[in-house]
Symmetry: C2
Subunit: 362 residues, 2 copies
């Protein structure tokens, strides 16, 4: 990683997923980081019984039922005025930026590209603080986030590394100017091995009026298709963000499905066990190869160092020869051609991926 | 209507629908203007068979399949670069405003409140041009839309009047400065008696680079719950609006359902016959009362003049005594307490509404 970090030349925010390539080529998508457990059939049957009214009548613009389910699930004693529901977490990143960002922002990078895109769209200058040994450089982030810094964007665990940095998060919250908004994306925190309770900063919203926590039901509950995320922060911030929200931003099917998945308390526990077991299996198998070195991760995806191969070539090879899509990380600001990212999926799929890597040489 | 038209004092954009009141009170919602024909059961069954993958995998950020279906349906020889799909028509109104509006706009009013809201959020001054005999005042609109006017908002047929003004639309398009964007909301045009072909301005997008046509699948195909709309305009405008669109703004269920409904060519014909027959029935019956005078309309809703009663009181009475929700029009900029708006629904529902009106006196 270079000390002076620049955006990718085209300033695009490129994502993985089957639509990042010719979708017809993809038989197995390891580039999307969603919970491998999927949705239960009985839940889809229940949804079907309400599908007619969910599709034909206007959804609640305030998502009241869903907000109550989320508050019950979080169990941290907040009321609905502390919540904002989005058409995916991405919508909330952009609403946040349009509301609070004018001058400049600090982004700990590499990370999810939507923070940068949203800040640039709001007209801000972006200062990147490179990760230090793959962790946020807390000291530098605090130093850079002075003099007109509207917001700091952080992601815990980070994407694409999958690494938790809980101590850094706390230090930044406690030491940053109260004029700077702290946006912490916790979209993967419910899937870390030890659970979110020890790592989330969500309860600190009561004490820090400049703290916004982002969660994604897309990732945690495998609802990528329906787009569902939420922000938790002080009602004063929520009220300002509401001025940039459209009516009916979350459709009826998404609101209902979000409410339904939260009713199964064992789902996330099962998911975490599956992820931990399968990630260990994948890392262990990859450790037997010489060309692919898995990097430690706390969550349902991890980086693989492809050494002197090119991440683009590895991605293209796996796609064209095996129909497997992995995430080429060269499109992340601050990353070169040395890493790909893979999701942890179900055992049979992971085995197929490992076989494909092994076929590329000892 | 006063000559100097002001926004409602709270500058809120208030909508009808069951969530505008206590939803538990509403047994019949006549305040939402969606196609009364609903969705067919076999279509929902087909959707169910794909529901798992639609919910769990990322949707196409470019909505390619849906765009192709819309282009086939429109049949006007455009390619996908002329289309932008939105999370409901409302999202597109706001994307349009964020992209093109800075200084001031002209709105023919009363009309749908989201135009005003989107323009104010973009920091613009709003000049209202009052309807003249319930039709757009073409001359005044052209006169006002000079000197830094970024956009004119029009709605054909208009909401809440339900009246077509096709000649005005054409005159405004042909005579306005090419520096001013013309935004024509045609969200109800597919439901007018004589069909959209004679009335739509959609083919003029080829000749007028400043013309944006908005369509809503919410209204025409009874998909209010899933949020789906689209804009048709010159690709140069689309490309600028794309800079304000988020990734994955249209969820997977919405994209698929939108594609499916367009495959039934008889749906809109059946809908229009139902609407015309039922609107005539409702108007005829209301004509027999002395307290409620229906106003002519071209589409699936119409205004009722409540004369010296108050629209708020009529709304509240019907809701509390009959569980029927109608739209009190006093929340539209430029309207007083003299009108309510009702949707045309199925015969049994319309009969219930008529009975309720008749119960209020001869």
């Amino acid at each position: 990683m270079k000390p002076m970090m620049k955006s990718k030349p085209d300033q695009d925010c490129l994502h993985g997923g089957v639509y990042s390539v010719n979708p017809g080529l993809v038989q197995l998508d390891f580039s999307s980081n969603v919970n491998p457990l999927g949705i239960s059939k009985h839940l889809l049957r229940d949804l079907y019984s309400e599908l007619n009214s969910l599709c034909t009548t206007y959804p609640d613009p305030l998502c009241r039922e869903l907000k109550n389910s989320i508050l019950d699930y979080l169990g941290i004693g907040l009321d609905p005025s502390w919540l904002l529901i989005g058409n995916g977490a991405t919508e909330l990143i952009h609403i946040f930026a349009r509301t609070f960002i004018r001058r400049n922002v600090v982004i700990s990078a590499p990370t999810f590209c939507e923070y940068e895109l949203s800040a640039r769209r709001a007209g801000a200058t972006v200062k990147f603080v490179p990760l230090k040994n793959w962790k946020p450089d807390t000291e530098k982030i605090l130093k850079e986030s002075t003099n007109g810094c509207d917001a700091v964007f952080l992601c815990n665990p980070n994407n694409p590394t999958g690494i938790l940095s809980t101590v850094s998060m706390r230090q930044i919250i406690e030491n940053i100017s109260s004029d700077t908004q702290i946006f912490i994306d916790e979209c993967f925190i419910e899937l870390v091995d030890e659970g979110d309770k020890k790592n989330t900063m969500i309860e600190m919203v009561s004490d820090y009026k400049n703290l916004v926590i982002l969660r994604s039901m897309t990732k945690s509950f495998c609802l990528a298709g329906i787009r569902l995320g939420y922000c938790v922060c002080n009602p004063k911030l929520i009220n300002r963000m509401l001025e940039n929200k459209i009516s009916w931003n979350v459709n009826g099917v998404a609101q209902k499905l979000g409410t339904m998945v939260l009713k199964d308390p064992s789902y996330l526990e099962k998911s975490k066990r599956l992820i931990q077991r399968e990630r260990n299996f994948m890392m262990n198998e990859l450790g037997k190869t010489t060309k692919f070195s898995p990097m430690l991760s706390d969550v349902n995806f991890f980086l693989i160092d492809v050494s002197n191969q090119s991440s683009v070539e590895v991605r293209n090879y796996l796609l064209s020869k095996r129909g497997i899509l992995v995430r080429d990380c060269s499109t992340f600001t601050g990353m070169g051609l040395r890493h790909i990212r893979v999701a942890v999926k179900k055992h049979i799929e992971n085995t197929t991926l490992i076989d494909a890597f092994k076929s590329m040489g000892p």
